[in-house]
């Protein structure tokens, strides 16, 4: 079938427009972050930063406690991802490889848990944490973040474990491995891509979490980066350069992870999300 020139042209033109629409906000964030203030508050927008400056990044990172926020965010995120991976690995192995009573119930339970409306439950979580005198601490944050990403991690890993051929494991056991050894030497290495894409999702969720930390941790020592970022604009008035520099710093780790793991991440995330 031959298509007319118009028929060949419009999909590409639409794609270009969509591409610009997708990328422009991200571009504008970086562009503003690198522009001198004079160019930011110009009557006509300066589309491409010519005089590159790092001044805004300096302003953003010289905020009091900045490095505390970074450490807090990293600690909470990395620990939550690690905990949920360990817990999920055990659970997903059982769900993918073993037959037992109530298996279906467990899976449905985790599917429902995945839908949990955390944003709505913050009052109850605040009360629990307060009654335990744990406000302004990273411990409850880590625990709740672990739980927020746990159901997804279990369900996605279940798919990845199931995809490892059972024969590999069996032949390892025939060769004298115990089941634990077979798991560690055969399945775990093959699970690496699955572990990466699931931890990417967990990383994003924990890194982004805002509602809970907003309520639980009011003291600067226990705040995380999302709070720093959202308070920025009020703190600095209309210093958009510094605000965009802060946004860039916050977004860069995620963007890099995503671009690196793009392929796997996309297929992993969609498979996990759609299949529950």
């Amino acid at each position: 079938m031959k298509r007319s020139l118009f028929g060949r042209l419009w999909p590409n033109v639409t794609a270009v427009v969509l591409f610009i629409g997708c990328v422009f906000p991200v571009y504008w964030m970086f562009a503003t972050a690198f522009k001198p203030t004079g160019d930011i508050i110009a009557e006509n927008p300066v589309w491409i930063p010519v005089d590159v400056t790092f001044e805004h990044f300096r302003t953003a990172t010289e905020v009091e406690h900045f490095w505390t926020y970074v450490t807090n965010s990293l600690t909470v995120t990395v620990l939550a991802v690690a905990f949920s991976l360990i817990i999920a690995l055990a659970g997903s192995f059982a769900l993918a490889r073993m037959r037992f009573k109530g298996r279906r119930g467990f899976i449905i339970g985790f599917m429902l848990a995945q839908m949990a409306p955390w944003e709505v439950m913050i009052i109850a979580m605040y009360m629990i944490v307060r009654d335990a005198s744990m406000l302004n601490s990273l411990v409850p944050l880590t625990l709740f973040y672990t739980m927020m990403i746990l159901p997804f991690t279990i369900l996605t890993l279940r798919g990845f474990v199931a995809a490892v051929p059972k024969e590999l494991e069996e032949s390892a056991m025939v060769d004298g491995c115990t089941r634990v050894q077979a798991f560690r030497r055969i399945i775990l290495p093959l699970l690496a891509p699955g572990l990466m894409s699931t931890s990417l999702f967990g990383f994003i969720t924990a890194w982004n979490e805002f509602a809970l930390v907003l309520v639980l941790n009011k003291e600067a020592e226990a705040k995380t980066l999302p709070l720093w970022l959202s308070s920025f604009q009020t703190q600095f008035g209309d210093d958009w350069g510094a605000t965009m520099a802060a946004s860039s710093l916050f977004a860069v780790p995620i963007l890099i992870l995503f671009v690196f793991l793009q392929r796997r991440a996309v297929s992993g995330l969609t498979a996990g999300a759609v299949k529950g």
């Binding site: 817990i87 467990f106 944003e119 009052i123 605040y126 069996e170 982004n208 999302p226 946004s247 996309v266």
Partner: protein
């Protein structure tokens, strides 16, 4: 015990089970009984976590919703039960119903826009050449990967009253009254920006997902349709659409959940303002509960919100649960 002896010894399940235990165990029966516990032991940490960290807050939320809990009670650590007073107050008040209606409309508009645009972009991806598709895909992934709080901040800047690039463009396009327009000043303009933001963030997921689904459609189906004389529109409605239906259902369901509880976007953009006119249910629960320190009331709103969300997704949830039961 009788069950075990009655089972045919050659059943595939039994064979596997004895294989798993390995040779050299003295009492196979005791070993397999212990082996039967293994899956539960493996799932134990996950279940303990779920009960403590998800079940307990849920239960606590329900308990709190039956208490008179304001600043005074909070400070003195007293528990005052007040039956269904919170619910009575919430349900008879005008605010709750207004916010509920607003929330449902907000979700409906955003989900509809996201799904329609996402589906169109997904179909477009399938039509594009390799290089163009890769380019657009990278753009979509970039928008998708952008963290919510950062994206909201960027949109505040794009739509800033002064020096915002959107106002500048509208002014240059001849709409001069928009030159100094404050997007946070009215209900509709705030919702407009939040909607643009949410659609921008959500379309990539739908589009990429749908594109991935179209690649799994067997081309024989199209050939058969063409042989039967179907034009491109007919083969779209008879082949593509039915094939994509489960994906469309699944993504719609997820989008409803995600958008319904879009706390971060709405709250960080304008704190539910102006005049609390853009509060959606999660924001309303937060502002009533934590902001105004009516914790019991907030908890009651939260419980009702969860019920509404369950109601909105019940239809699809039933399909999924049934499907999952058939599969397992």
């Amino acid at each position: 015990m009788t069950v075990q002896t009655e089972r045919p010894p050659s059943g595939p399940v039994d064979v596997r089970k004895t294989d798993d235990e390995g040779p050299g165990r003295p009492t196979p029966r005791a070993a397999s009984r212990a082996g039967a516990l293994v899956p539960y032991l493996l799932l134990l940490p996950a279940c303990v976590a779920t009960v403590l960290l998800l079940g307990w807050p849920l239960l606590k939320d329900v308990l709190l919703s039956f208490q008179n809990l304001n600043m005074a009670q909070l400070i003195q650590h007293v528990t005052e039960w007040n039956g269904i007073d919170n619910y009575k107050e919430v349900l008879t008040g005008e605010d709750f119903w207004r916010v509920t209606l607003r929330s449902i409309l907000f979700t409906a508009v955003n989900v509809a826009l996201t799904m329609v645009l996402g589906a169109l972009v997904g179909l477009l991806l399938a039509r594009l050449g390799r290089r163009m598709r890769f380019t657009l895909m990278m753009g979509l992934v970039l928008a998708w990967a952008m963290p919510v709080v950062a994206a909201t901040t960027v949109y505040q800047w794009l739509f800033a009253q002064r020096f915002g690039v959107v106002n500048w463009t509208l002014d240059k396009l001849g709409w001069h009254s928009m030159a100094d327009y404050s997007w946070t000043s009215s209900q509709m303009s705030t919702f407009f920006v939040v909607t643009v933001l949410i659609v921008w963030m959500s379309v990539p997921f739908v589009a990429i997902n749908l594109y991935a689904a179209t690649t799994t459609i067997p081309s024989e189906l199209y050939e058969a349709a063409a042989l039967d004389g179907a034009g491109s529109w007919r083969s779209f409605t008879t082949v593509t659409l039915p094939f994509l239906r489960p994906f469309l259902y699944a993504t719609t369901f997820l989008e409803i959940i995600w958008i319904f509880k879009a706390f971060v976007q709405v709250y960080t953009f304008n704190q539910g303002g102006p005049d609390r006119l853009t509060e959606i249910l999660p924001v309303y629960a937060y502002i009533e509960g934590v902001g105004n320190q009516h914790y019991g009331m907030g908890a009651a709103i939260a419980v009702l919100t969860i019920l509404i969300l369950l109601g909105l997704t019940a239809y699809y949830l039933r399909i999924v649960l049934k499907q999952e039961e058939d599969e397992l």
